[in-house]
């Protein structure tokens, strides 16, 4: 053995050294390779943080005249469900994606929230600057969105719209935010984001949201011909600490529009809260009553279909028993995605702007007691509008006949 090592010791040592280099060096270089990925991630994170800080500083400059620095702050995200705008049963949870404290010198003066809401489509990302001193919004900025960005829709939310948020105090029970016709879902998405930001702000800081006690016991369509044209909805409400009751009328956008029974001593916050709660009731605003003439048994109704500038106007003449349609006529500006647009589908003698084939067919099916079908090419807007109108008509007939 000794002779063997004397003779071959050198090569064994050299070979062993090479094996050790291969093994341990291999592990070392593997570690280095793994670190490449780690550093790449770190670098990506650094870049992201730098971009994020640049964005926060830019927002600070536009929203906080006194601000001179921002720092990222951690928060406990809230989980609150809100109805997706335009849906009656689908919900989403807004998310505060990031939050930054704004400083003037060393003094924290406000906070910036980056919130993701849901407008017509998901991913409506907004920035809110909130002033600690007044608990009010200093500014709002849309960071990104997937809304339909045309002059007909999202672009309708112009500077005038956003200006209403500047100075909007959180210290009122109900946030009064005006929506914009034509961009209703986007407006609602921003409104939800604003309400949610206030919840988050109250959770993060020493701020309490003023409480307004309003409970809508029932909200329904107003079927009273004397008032239904001006007040499409009627609500039974209990409000205040003394649980007062009132029956009130609501406009088509659920705004409080008058008292039916009781005394109107509601505060503005309570009226806004009634509006907010009623808006979530699921009642359709696609159709409403126009007028009712008892002598001629003529009922005029309106529906909001594809063409937003004009309503579909339907005039029903009821039979003498007031339990069925004797005749009807439709005035429509609608335009469908199908061949039914062509003039050949118009009723003979019809001279209106559109071709109300779909409307007429659905009303005929209803009149004849058939199943009211969906019409291909008009299933998104016109069809649902007429279906809503017929449902409402049905309720009216029931009311005329003692609820039967």
């Amino acid at each position: 053995m000794k002779a063997f090592f004397a003779k071959n010791g050198v090569v064994l040592v050299f070979a062993l050294a090479l094996v050790l280099i291969f093994a341990f060096g291999g592990m070392y270089s593997r570690y280095m390779t793994d670190q490449v990925e780690v550093h790449a991630e770190e670098e990506a994170k650094r870049e992201e943080e730098a971009l994020e800080r640049a964005m926060a500083l830019e927002l600070m400059e536009t929203m906080f005249p006194l601000g001179d620095d921002v720092t990222r702050r951690e928060l406990t995200p809230l989980e609150i469900d809100y109805l997706i705008p335009g849906k009656s049963s689908e919900y989403f949870q807004p998310q505060v994606e990031k939050s930054f404290t704004v400083y003037a010198g060393t003094e924290p003066i406000g906070v910036i929230y980056i919130v993701v809401s849901h407008g017509n489509k998901p991913g409506l990302k907004l920035a809110y600057g909130i002033d600690f001193a007044t608990d009010s919004i200093l500014g709002i900025s849309v960071i990104e969105h997937s809304e339909t960005d045309t002059a007909s829709y999202f672009q309708k939310l112009d500077e005038t719209y956003y200006a209403q948020f500047s100075g909007l105090s959180f210290d009122t029970a109900v946030l009064a935010i005006d929506s914009v016709a034509g961009a209703t879902y986007s407006s609602r998405g921003i409104e939800i984001a604003t309400i949610f930001v206030r919840e988050q702000y109250a959770s993060d800081y020493d701020f309490e949201i003023p409480v307004v006690i309003v409970n809508i016991n029932q909200v329904d369509y107003n079927l009273d011909p004397a008032t239904f044209a001006d007040h499409p909805f009627v609500a039974d409400v209990t409000y205040g600490t003394e649980a007062k009751s009132i029956e009130c009328y609501l406009a088509l956008d659920f705004t409080f529009s008058g008292v039916k029974t009781g005394v109107d001593d509601l505060t503005d916050d309570e009226k806004l809260e009634i509006k907010n709660q009623a808006a979530g009731s699921g009642l359709s605003t696609l159709s409403y009553f126009g007028s009712w003439d008892q002598n001629t048994r003529t009922l005029v109704m309106h529906a909001k279909g594809y063409v937003t500038r004009y309503t579909i106007d339907v005039t029903f003449v009821l039979n003498a028993e007031l339990d069925a349609i004797e005749s009807y006529s439709v005035l429509s500006h609608e335009s469908y995605d199908s061949e039914y647009n062509s003039a050949e589908y118009a009723t003979p003698g019809y001279s209106g702007p559109g071709v109300p084939y779909v409307e007429s067919m659905m009303i005929s099916q209803y009149r004849d007691g058939d199943t009211v079908d969906s019409i291909a090419g008009a299933s998104q807007k016109t069809g649902p509008a007429i279906r809503s109108l017929l449902d409402l008509f049905d309720l009216f007939l029931d009311s005329l006949n003692g609820g039967e």
């Binding site: 050198v10 090569v11 280099i21 291969f22 670190q35 990925e37």
Partner: protein, 396 residues
Amino acid sequence: MARFAGGKAPYLRIADDPSKSTNALMRDFLIGMFPVILFAWYKNGIQVYLEGNIAFLEMLYPLFFILIGGLSSMLMEGIFFYITDKENRNVKGIMMKLKNSFALIPGIILALLLPLYTPIWVLLFGAFMATIVGKMLFGGFGHNIFNPALLGYLAVGFTLSGVIASAGGVFNQSEVLVDAYAGATPLGTLASSKQISYAALVAPYGSLWNFFLGTIPGALGETGSLAIIIGYLWLSIRKVIKWSTPLIYVGTVFILSWLIGAFAGDGGLWFPTYSILSGGLLFGAVFMATEPVTTPRNPLGKIIFALFLGALTVLFRFIGNFPEGVGTSLIVMNIFTMPIDSISAQIRAGGIRKQSLLKGIMIVLILVAIIVYSLIKSGTIYSLSALLGWFKLGVM
């Protein structure tokens, strides 16, 4: 009485003087490389660690990588000696041979040429190709035709570049994915953009001063121009290398680059300066173009060798697959070392005669052809006639 040495270089001028022995040459050569190794470690390890971007183990790795390159090269050579020389298998005999054969050098140079994130087994493969195939199979130190480290580098580059890339190493790119070193090398930028513009080639890396200091992306050993120059001065003073060879090589690249820049409409000195401070030019000029075994022996041969190296380097930078042209041009010129030696020896010994004159003219014509082709391929002129047009206008 004059004494002549025969056989292969290097020759020991005063064999009896221990300070001039092969062993001493190797020691001096290693000392000459020391600033480069130190800077490579500083730039890729210490500095980045001090900036808080990497861990302690990562900081040590560049030095480890270089030392492992040298050590593995030496171990392989030792094993080769053991296998091939059955009479001298004892420790003393093998260590003596290793001392006299520059055993560490190929591995160290190879490690300095490779990307930092090269897997160790790839480094070992490169060291094997350099030491065993490139050096020992040719007969060992003094008999190899190609620069061993370069052979290892090219073997790895051509066969395992994908492995290196998947491990995080990138040829001709930064080895450290943080801060100022991220991104393509200056030569990589030139290769991709083909634009001779200060804004594109120099400005992204700060200034030419950074090129001089070496704080630009590149392989471990190639960027530290200042460290390489310090090594050059040491090796020249110690007469380990012929001082003129690197100067002629770098000077040729400088002048040709200036011409290319001038044709492109920018006759400033920044482009030739950029050209000599980018890539592995200085490293190759000092540590590889001066290698005693694979380069010509006589002074005239060294000059011809360096001139061709310069012309080919510029050419390969514009026509090669890689942005760098130093390695390829060195390997090519290694092939012509013997003919150059032979022709230059004839001219030197016999003066300019008909036969040697013809050979000399032929060499000059080949050199001019390479230079002209380099200028054309640089994209700054598009045909020979355009070049001649400049002559007619009296510009040149």
